[in-house]
């Protein structure tokens, strides 16, 4: 058992998680691109901790990258969280509102 096969199989298995329905379709490419986009997005956001301190930013970068890679296909969860359910949107709105009020009050 060579190592290349295992890596290939792992990659294949990882890619298979994106497949909806039968076979690879154009949606699958969209999902994979979206997954990579989301990963880069999270990594770039984690760099923002450099505003507070640079060592913290490095730690957060490593931590968040491992975390995101561990839960690899997060795109379906992202899609589910962005679904057009009224109650879900209201829930997120309340969370955002609470965060905004908390941040601004804390800042003042």
């Amino acid at each position: 058992m060579t190592s290349t096969e295992t890596i290939y199989e792992r990659l294949k298995k990882w890619l298979d998680k994106f497949v909806i329905g039968s076979g690879y379709t154009s949606i699958t490419t969209g999902y994979i691109t979206g997954e990579l986009q989301f990963l880069v997005f999270i990594i770039v956001l984690s760099v923002f901790f450099r505003i507070f301190s640079i060592p913290l930013a490095i730690i957060m970068l490593i931590f968040i990258t491992t975390f995101a890679l561990y839960f690899a296909p997060v795109i379906k969860d992202v899609e589910k969280e962005n679904m057009n359910d009224l109650n879900r949107v209201l829930f997120w709105m309340v969370i955002y509102f609470a965060i905004i009020i908390a941040i601004t009050l804390w800042g003042g």
């Binding site: 057009n84 009224l86 949107v89 969370i95 800042g107």
Partner: protein, 498 residues
């Protein structure tokens, strides 16, 4: 000494002509609707082009100057204006000219596309235009709140007019949310009114700058929170984007053109008002930047995984609204110029894409990437146009998207936020990928079955002329950005000085 009130003649006309057209068109037979609505759109376009700059004061109160203790009608003299007012300045000029040009094509297209119940639908389109005109001209909290509430009700109506069950559901969800955010904006208005005593925004800002907020800062924070709520809602920012994109996707494409114009203008108008009212508080700009970054990334990721071309464009509109608000949230001169310029460019290239999407309705009405095939063979023109629109949206140099994105990136780098510059680049690249997925499947991919009918479809001439005009506009602005920037820069300087 007697000074006379000099209200600008064009502001009431810009508001009343759409309203009157909406009322008249409701009672007309189908044949009379078309000439009257097109004439009205042309009149609005001409008025908006030739109008001089000025003010409209509702109560006719003279302004009060606290230094000399005199009353005056001269708006250039510093003082409390004490009145509800509309402004028609350079920013309003460019925005209203572009949106009335768009209104002309949308109205003509809707008379061709719809066959029954044209009157009420046309009335809704005109009221939508009216709300977007008012929101960019408004300079007092009272009219701001009214126009946000009524504008959202009209959006509900336009979305429901599409007639499918998806659009009814989208409209109902949006209406419920409009109720909550409208109440929030009213509370915010009440808090600012209680804090300063002025409904005029310039007066409220002068009061806050002169006397400070003292120990009442908490009240202003809560007002800011509710303002952000209505901002998110009116422009479809991050937590609201599933509802707003559903509204964009479920309406007819020519109505979506006007819907996105309205939401861009609301984003710019409310964003500038927020920047002027609350920029003295800490963490305000950070909140605005955070919201816009989340919006533009989530919007573009959701656009990648859609299967319907209409929904791809709907999520891209959301994502590019994030770019607009990012520029406003930065709060510097470059940022504001980039944000407002991005709003103008966004309106233009999204109009190209949406008009091409409207053209798909004449080829059988299938917009899903699973169902539509090979439009390129039937209509090379539309295919070229949609690819040019995608290039403009991605920000590739000869087109207008490039000019505003480069300003935004420079503004981010100047502020010391290179990460956000990277994210803007990512958004523009991913926009192209997301659009190209849809374009390849729908336009370029050859049909799988050979027995498809090759019947010739006659596209309406208005659609073709509209697409050509907006592509030319896009290229002209891309090569000579100064023709738009010279309207925007004086306004930005004024906003940042006040």
């Amino acid at each position: 000494m007697m000074e006379s009130i000099s209200n600008l003649w064009s502001i009431p006309l810009l508001v009343i002509i759409p309203m009157l057209t909406a009322i008249i068109v409701n009672f007309l037979y189908d044949k009379a609707i078309k000439p009257i609505s097109i004439c009205s759109a042309i009149i609005i376009l001409i008025i908006s082009i030739i109008s001089p700059y000025g003010y409209h004061w509702f109560t006719g109160h003279p302004a009060f100057n606290p230094d000399t203790l005199l009353f005056t009608f001269n708006p250039n003299i510093f003082g409390y204006r004490l009145s509800l007012e509309f402004i028609f300045g350079p920013l309003q000029h460019i925005m209203i000219v572009i949106s009335s040009l768009i209104l002309l094509f949308c109205v003509t297209l809707s008379t061709i596309g719809l066959t029954k119940r044209q009157g009420p639908y046309m009335a809704l389109l005109y009221l939508l235009f009216m709300s977007s005109v008012i929101v960019i001209m408004v300079n007092d909290l009272y009219h701001l709140w009214i126009v946000v509430e009524i504008g959202s009700l009209i959006v509900v109506g336009v979305a429901a007019a599409s007639g499918t069950s998806i659009s009814h559901k989208a409209a109902l969800k949006y209406a419920f949310f409009s109720a909550i955010s409208g109440a929030g904006l009213a509370v915010s208005l009440a808090l600012i009114l209680g804090l300063t005593g002025f409904a005029n925004i310039s007066d409220a800002i002068i009061y806050l700058r002169q006397f400070g907020i003292g120990d009442m800062a908490t009240v202003l924070y809560i007002a800011f929170g509710f303002f952000v709520l209505s901002w998110m809602y009116a422009g479809g920012l991050a937590p609201i984007h599933p509802l707003k994109s559903e509204v964009y996707g479920a309406s007819y494409p020519h109505a979506t053109v006007l819907l996105q114009v309205q939401s861009k203008l609301m984003l710019v108008a409310i964003g500038i008002i927020m920047l002027r009212l609350f920029s003295m508080l800490p963490f305000v700009k950070e909140v605005m930047i955070f919201l816009s970054v989340i919006t533009m990334m989530i919007g573009v990721i959701m656009a990648l995984i859609q299967v319907d071309f209409r929904w791809i464009i709907a999520y891209l509109i959301i994502s590019h609204s994030g770019l607009v608000t990012l520029g406003i949230g930065l709060g510097t001169q470059e940022g504001l110029v980039g944000g407002i310029f991005q709003a103008v460019n966004d309106i233009i290239y999204m109009t190209i894409l949406l008009l091409c999407c409207e053209a798909l309705f004449y080829f059988g009405g299938k917009t899903s990437t699973k169902e539509a095939y090979g439009i390129a063979k039937k209509s090379p023109f539309i295919t070229t146009a949609v690819i040019l629109g995608a290039i403009a949206a991605a920000g590739i140099p000869p087109f207008n998207g490039f000019q505003s994105e480069i300003i935004l990136i420079q503004a981010c780098l100047k502020e010391g936020l290179p990460e956000i510059a990277v994210l803007i680049l990512m958004v523009s690249v991913t926009t192209f990928i997301a659009l190209l997925r849809g374009i390849y499947r729908i336009f370029l991919k050859p049909p799988e079955l050979q027995d498809q009918d090759d019947s010739n479809v006659d596209l309406p001439k208005v659609l073709i002329i509209g697409i050509i005009i907006f592509i030319i506009l896009s290229i002209i602005i891309g090569i000579y950005p100064d023709i738009v920037l010279r309207f925007i820069i004086p306004v930005v300087k004024e906003v940042l000085l006040i």
